[in-house]
Symmetry: C2
Subunit: 346 residues, 2 copies
DNA sequence: TTGAAAGCGCTAACAG
DNA sequence: CTGTTAGCGCTTTCAA
């Protein structure tokens, strides 16, 4: 597969290799005539610069690492939209994306794996890194800092770090949910949180939403009932049973788990609970996942694709980063609680 | 960030650069003494060869492209396990994975995108490609053939192609389902197939399973009832209504849609159908997705992770490729039909 | 407005 | 068993 080189293009166009290079980079003014001849030669020979040679010479690769931790499936959030966002953002800037695992926790990928992150950085295959699903105390932060690699965390870490982040405003999300439900008259609100594993792994979003909901409820003078839930039908049913025994007049649920919403609706149905007549439900979830469910949900959108894009943008144009705003979309899964409606009915 | 070069290592170890190279590659017998000195120097300086320089010199990159088509979300199969399999397989061989989109259909990623596949191949960033979700008439096959890039299709294309493939044995899968249900005594079996979009996009798996189920039913002397289903609750309910009007005594469902199984159980519940007492259900699905549902399902496992791994292996050790076998796992979502049970009961 | 030439870091002949 | 050297394809001084 002997592929075309810049020298061949130069020869064909009757110019020096450097001229071809300058035509491509635009770093020099070139006469219209030669520019045309060079472009023609490029077309005819299907010339494409050799990425390796470029990276050797220029010291940059136009590749970013996308670092996905594989903690195991069950507690896995829905990664595809984030990946898609990163891919899209990178594409906008002409960057390519190297998918890399950080062999944290000797998870499924046991082997010698080690940190492929460290490898691609050390061998200068990438110019930057986007760290997905960043934990409060994520090891990868130390890695990129030590190696001096520009990086963006998708997820807000706890400690001070030079690595800027993009995350979702879970505080507002929690508050929006509580305020919406309280405005409808709900006084007994439960939180179905991500699985225990998400808390154990110090995934910030789990802790932050928990705190936000607890805080907003306290501020409204309401009691907090919540617990982590495994995203299985059995898990959902157990959780509901637990919450209902703790607070029999539970009238509303805030749900924070990518995989849980469909399952929860099923579990509620099996318990004979009608949404929203018997119980209101507000998930905090990527909008696309609400489409599989009935009734149309009132939900707080987690803009996963936008977050992925924002992470790449932050890599391109450094800054402190920040939180993407939470917005509540009104659907038909919430209504005033039965207790306040019945009087009117009768 | 001036990072260590082979020359610095050589100087530190008191040898020639080539010696360091040979120590690393093992292409020459080196005395134990120098080998040790070199290794020490490498450690001390944290030396890691420059990937760009290597690829320039060696003509290979140790990177494979993983080409994901983004057709849009609704008809999207669950890609993560395939991606994970590819990542894992690549990791085993010390390869890295470049995630690339093939800008097919001016889908969400409109822009000038074009085929990033063609770009990474032409600029020699990758040594091979794994094409995910290959269509019967996939454009990407022509691309890799034209550019002479080793590739493996994840999905069996229709026409003759020099590109080897890895796919799932949907023929056996369909047959297993029908035989299992027929053995239980079912005579009225329905197929809930992937969404219309999957057929329109010529995704082979949709067509193949459709044909397999139809064939197996015919062979068993049974009528075929099937239709494509959107993976939404509304879609599932419509489909069920349609099948039941076509065949009121429908007693079993074969379900082939990654996203549908949870939704279907919900829809059946809403229609007052108990699984398996009223209706048997056999999904063809990645095992992990059955964990969210009750009762424990009888299902045919689609070994998505293994398929991803197999694709990389096929890239490493070329061969004709083939189909991964279907296996039926017995759970509690199938039982003899009500009509054959009632006599015994009374 | 263009060319010539050096050199990025690495590997693989050649030479000892 | 080890060192010297050329050159992969590209960009960018330095010179004209």
């Amino acid at each position: 597969m002997p592929s075309t080189t810049i020298t061949q293009v130069a020869r064909r166009a009757g110019v020096a290799p450097s001229t071809v290079s300058y035509v491509l980079s635009g770093n020099r003014t070139i006469s219209e005539a030669t520019r045309a001849r060079v472009h023609l030669a490029i077309q005819e020979l299907h010339y494409k610069p050799h990425a390796g040679a470029r990276s050797l010479r220029a010291g940059k690769t136009n590749v970013v690492a996308l670092v996905v931790p594989f903690y195991g499936w069950s507690s896995e959030p829905i990664l595809m939209p984030y990946i898609y966002g990163v891919l899209d953002g990178a594409g906008q800037r002409g960057w390519n994306v190297m998918l890399v695992t950080s062999g944290e926790d000797a998870s499924s990928l046991d082997q010698e794996a080690g940190s492929t992150l460290e490898e691609v950085v050390a061998s200068r295959m990438v110019d930057g890194a986007v760290l997905m699903e960043v934990r409060l105390d994520d090891d990868r932060l130390e890695v990129v800092e030590r190696l001096g690699m520009p990086a963006v965390a998708l997820g807000l870490p706890l400690g001070p770090s030079t690595v800027p982040y993009v995350d979702f405003d879970f505080e507002s999300a929690g508050r929006l949910c509580v305020e919406h439900l309280a405005a409808l008259g709900h006084r007994h609100i439960g939180l179905l949180a991500p699985p225990p594993g998400a808390f154990e792994k110090n995934l910030g979003y789990a802790h932050r939403l928990w705190g936000a909901v607890a805080g907003a409820l306290a501020q409204a003078g309401l009691a907090f009932h919540g617990l982590p839930v495994e995203p299985t039908l059995a898990g959902a049913k157990q959780a509901l049973a637990h919450l209902l025994s703790e607070e029999p007049s539970l009238g509303a649920l805030i749900v924070h788990s990518d995989a849980l919403i469909g399952i929860l609706m099923q579990a509620l149905h099996q318990l004979g609970k009608v949404v929203p007549a018997d119980i209101s439900v507000v998930p905090i979830v990527w909008a696309e996942l609400t489409k599989h469910v009935e009734p149309p949900l009132t939900y707080v959108n987690v803009p996963a694709v936008e977050m992925g894009r924002a992470a790449v943008e932050l890599l391109a144009e450094p800054g402190p980063g920040g939180l993407l705003p939470a917005t509540l979309v009104e659907g038909r899964s919430t209504s005033p609680p039965a207790s306040t409606r019945r009087p009117r009915d009768s």
